[in-house]
Symmetry: C2
Subunit: 397 residues, 2 copies
Amino acid sequence: MVNFLSIFTMRNLFFLSLALNLSLIMRVFYEGEKHGPHGLSARKADSGLEKAAHATQRTLVSLSSSGQDDGEKLINLDHGDPTMYESYWQQMGEKTTVVIPGWQSMSYFSDVKNPCWFLEPEFAKQVVRLHNLVGNAVTEGRQIVVGTGSSQLFLAALYALAPKDASEPISVISAAPFYSSYPSMTDYLKSGLYKWAGDARSFDKEGPYIELVTSPNNPDGFVRHSMVNRTGGILVHDLAYYWPQYTPISSATDHDLTLFTVSKSTGHAGTRIGWALVKDPEVAKKMIKFIELSTIGVSRDSQLRAARILEVIINSSQNPGRPESGESFFKISHHLMAERWQLLREAVNRGRFFSLPEFQQGFCQFLNQVSQPQPGKQKFTEPLIKSCHLYNYLCNA
Amino acid sequence: MVNFLSIFTMRNLFFLSLALNLSLIMRVFYEGEKHGPHGLSARKADSGLEKAAHATQRTLVSLSSSGQDDGEKLINLDHGDPTMYESYWQQMGEKTTVVIPGWQSMSYFSDVKNPCWFLEPEFAKQVVRLHNLVGNAVTEGRQIVVGTGSSQLFLAALYALAPKDASEPISVISAAPFYSSYPSMTDYLKSGLYKWAGDARSFDKEGPYIELVTSPNNPDGFVRHSMVNRTGGILVHDLAYYWPQYTPISSATDHDLTLFTVSKSTGHAGTRIGWALVKDPEVAKKMIKFIELSTIGVSRDSQLRAARILEVIINSSQNPGRPESGESFFKISHHLMAERWQLLREAVNRGRFFSLPEFQQGFCQFLNQVSQPQPGKQKFTEPLIKSCHLYNYLCNA
């Protein structure tokens, strides 16, 4: 009982200290913004950036929560909600707008000649153009599979890669720290096909397995490669954050199965569109089957909208600054993230309890310059009790 | 070997006979249309119906296939694709159009104060208005849960209703003939929570079970009620076809968990929007959790589009014929279905091998008249070999 009380008091003190720490960080953070010594507002910003900078003014250090802070309800999904791009899209004006008459896209079918019959050809076209432009993934010889966000494609990949007649479910692993939803997404239906088996670093079971490689990693932003390299291993690469605003684009990835999503690349989380690049046509076929069985395809409206958004991004990168194409999305978003990281580092450095990792800079083939990783989501590590992290969604508005 | 050959020959003959039969039906069907003795084209049709009638001109008796008949690929999903409504939406013009600027609906969250945080308030509002207008379902005291089509909501319902700590998966049953995708949708992930257990009529296992009641039934169009009435039974009502164009609306249903979808009610299958009316908030909460884990919500673009479509339908029913509201969607679609059924019955009656069921007429509270059931999908029964059915999607264009 005495022991219990002493632990309890320790905890109390610890949380009190955390709260104080956090309030200090926020104070420093906001004061830094108000006086604007290093922020964009103190520099001569070009007209495009001026508006975009308003997003930064609303930056919040969020405690793993994404709800509106109206005191009524906080929803914690542990997902970044990159609404900071809103101001960019506002300034891009009508060229970003989709108009969908009531009689369009009524059928289930987008393209009956494509194995992925629910894939809008225009969306597929813009995905290929975007990857070719950014240079972050090889698209030749791949089946594009569209999904209701990359979450659905993650599940589709598990279904497609798991042996159908095995005596036990295939192990699904990822090196810690991993995306917090992986375990529950893998296990919520108690599937007989696949089962969460934890940290890839300590995985020592014989036989086949699926390893999830998230790079840059969610939640710590580091570039990741496969941790286990054994016979029977199948890799799924989640590259949601492999875009120039978050990390240097070092090369075009050439994996068997790669996942992307508009929520992180363009900020359109509410549109629920992701895509997979799949090398093996048989795997792609099974993923398509999964999406047929779970949602009979993917919203055509959202694909049309995503296609327009990607097209605007491509035009803005190819002809930046022209009235018809607007300012480069990736340059502006890279700038915004850089600014937010600078403010965050300054704030954390003035505090005592939290620390931020140092990332290795690298040459970004797309920006054609040496560039710092600046993850869209970042955990704060508390150095005394290492299991305590506070997450900050750097791209939330 | 001799036996095998004789069976093979029988089969050959049988399929030859089927093909001949079908070609005869189609010939009669199309001749009936060409000469227009009973079709809408022979009558004085009002301006609204004239355009809509073109859909009928393109009617195909489809062999369980929904692909374009270009000789390249046929896709069989066994789903009706009610594109016959396209011409109605065309004539309704711009009032059906949604315009979505690039900066709208970017966040994951539609309504943080609603337990279903990904439900667009405008869509929820129009769902309630539509049910109140049509009188086909009670909405008071229900949580509306939006889904990526009603397929996702069906799976969400299984997840929500299955006990989480049972020693074996709960049985999922439906009275034959049932929707052909139910077994594969239930079993494709080999879930430990639920398992397909076949025809409700022959179900005699002790313990809890989930019974799927589809009414009007897919594929035979009959009104259905629960077949098994035992302790531990949980009902899921799939009322995708409980709309005035398909069946008389006899009363407002008042079930625990009811599924609807825009694909069958308005024809917007490509939009992938369904909704559930759920009485028990705890069940609703688990369904919401399922959708979080499988797709992190539902496309906001599609919900906004569906809301507009429902609103147009409501206005067209409340003020039919006025320029600002257009002609009544349900009256026109009811008329189209009636015409198609008349032609179909005539064609089938002139053939020898196929038959169609007779349905009991009933009073439709919405249309305020006695009305015939006219299912959107109908199987043809071959009387000699009863296991052979050809499906006709009466609402495909």
